[in-house]
Each structure stands twice: as C-alpha cells, then as structure tokens.
C-alpha cells in the first residue's frame, strides 16, 4: 500500500523504498514492543497533501512513556539490534509520537517539495 502511494506520488525507487522501510520498521516495532508479539490491532491511515505525505499508525498496545524508548541506538557500536528506530528517523522528515491512555499514535511525515517530488 505504501509503495502504491509512493509510486502514485512520483517518488523514485530509493525514496519509495525509504517510505516503505519506515512504515515496515514502525509496524515491526509496534508488534514487538507495543504488543510484545501478541495479537492486536493497528489502524493505519494515509493523508496526502500537496506538500507532504503523512502515515499514521494507531496502536492499542503498551503506551510508550519513556522518551529514550523513542530513539534509535548510537551506531558507533556495530552490533545487531536497535536499528529500526534509527532507520525510521533517517528515512522520514518528521516522526511524531503521542502516548494515549490506551496506546500510541505515531505519525510519519514525508515532505514532498524539498526533494523535488
């Protein structure tokens, strides 16, 4: 779905991959950390504006309340794990998170104009 929208908006191959990567990493992160690999619902919404794309993920898992949980690890230490959040932040222009009483709301923002798309 993300790739379809990326292609429709004329993003190139690398940028479409970045968008798909960020969405995929966030999805995996919610499954692992929000739901701890249990069954659960994730509502995904897309908003397309002339200047930006927004992808929202609403989960009903454990609310993230500690800011340090929202950061990727430092990359100086080459080891497996912890890359997902770093890649989300690296791929997207903005990443917003809101802790709710019953879960989390995540918003990924991709600016269209500065990249010339």
């Amino acid at each position: 779905m993300v790739e379809v929208i990326a292609n429709r908006e004329g993003l190139g191959c690398v940028n479409a991959n970045r968008l798909a990567l960020a969405a995929s990493e966030l999805f995996a992160n919610i499954c692992s950390h929000g739901y701890k690999d249990r069954m659960g619902f994730i509502d995904v919404g897309f908003e397309i504006y002339p200047s930006e794309l927004r992808i929202q993920f609403r989960d009903f898992g454990e609310p993230v309340i500690c800011k340090s949980q929202l950061k990727g690890r430092e990359l100086d230490d080459v080891r497996p794990g912890g890359l997902g959040l770093h890649l989300i932040h690296a791929a997207m222009d903005e990443v917003h998170h809101e802790s709710l009483d019953d879960g989390n709301l995540w918003t990924l923002v991709w600016q269209l104009n500065p990249k010339g798309e």
């Binding site: 191959c13 970045r18 995929s24 080459v78 080891r79």
Partner: protein
Amino acid sequence: MLDIQMDRSDDGRVYIRLEGLVDFHSSPALRQKLHPLLTPDNQEIHMDLSGVTFMDSSGIATLVEGLQWSRAQSAKFTLSGLTEPVRDVFAMSKLDTVFDIVDALQK
C-alpha cells in the same frame, strides 16, 4: 518471500545468493542458514545481494552477525550486488563503510 541458495567449496569458501525480501518475516530463516556457517572451518563467506529487492533492520542485523564473525575469526565476509535501495539502507545505517562491499563476486 526470500530464496536462499548456497554453494560451499572445499577450500572453506561459501557463496550465498539471496533473492527477494530480507525483512522481519524472512530474516529468521536467513539467520538459521547463516549461523551454522559462522565457524572457524569457513574462511570466506560471500553474500550476493543482487536479487534482494527490500532489506530492513532485521536483515541488516543478520548480516552484522556475519561481520562480527569475520572480525572474531579474521575471516572474510563480503557483500556484493547491492541494488540502489539496499545500498541506501546500508548508508542510512552508516554501515556502508563498515562492511566489505564489492560490485560483483570474484569466484
């Protein structure tokens, strides 16, 4: 879907060709195949990624295990044939200068 083809020569060189998506779902299968190869018996592992259309952090993490093995064993762990999107993921991870990345495998 991820297709994993392996070829091991008698002199301890292993060639692995991946085709498809290396993601959250398929990385455990890759790890399962790669892990038994990370022994002192093998001196070189070459991963041909020319058929990889998507790679996420779990795929990168699996390859980092190969990198760590190569450092611990003074062995070679080489990646080749990275497509533009996959190379971009390595660059965003700041691992493009850490791995031994070549254009094509030298058999």
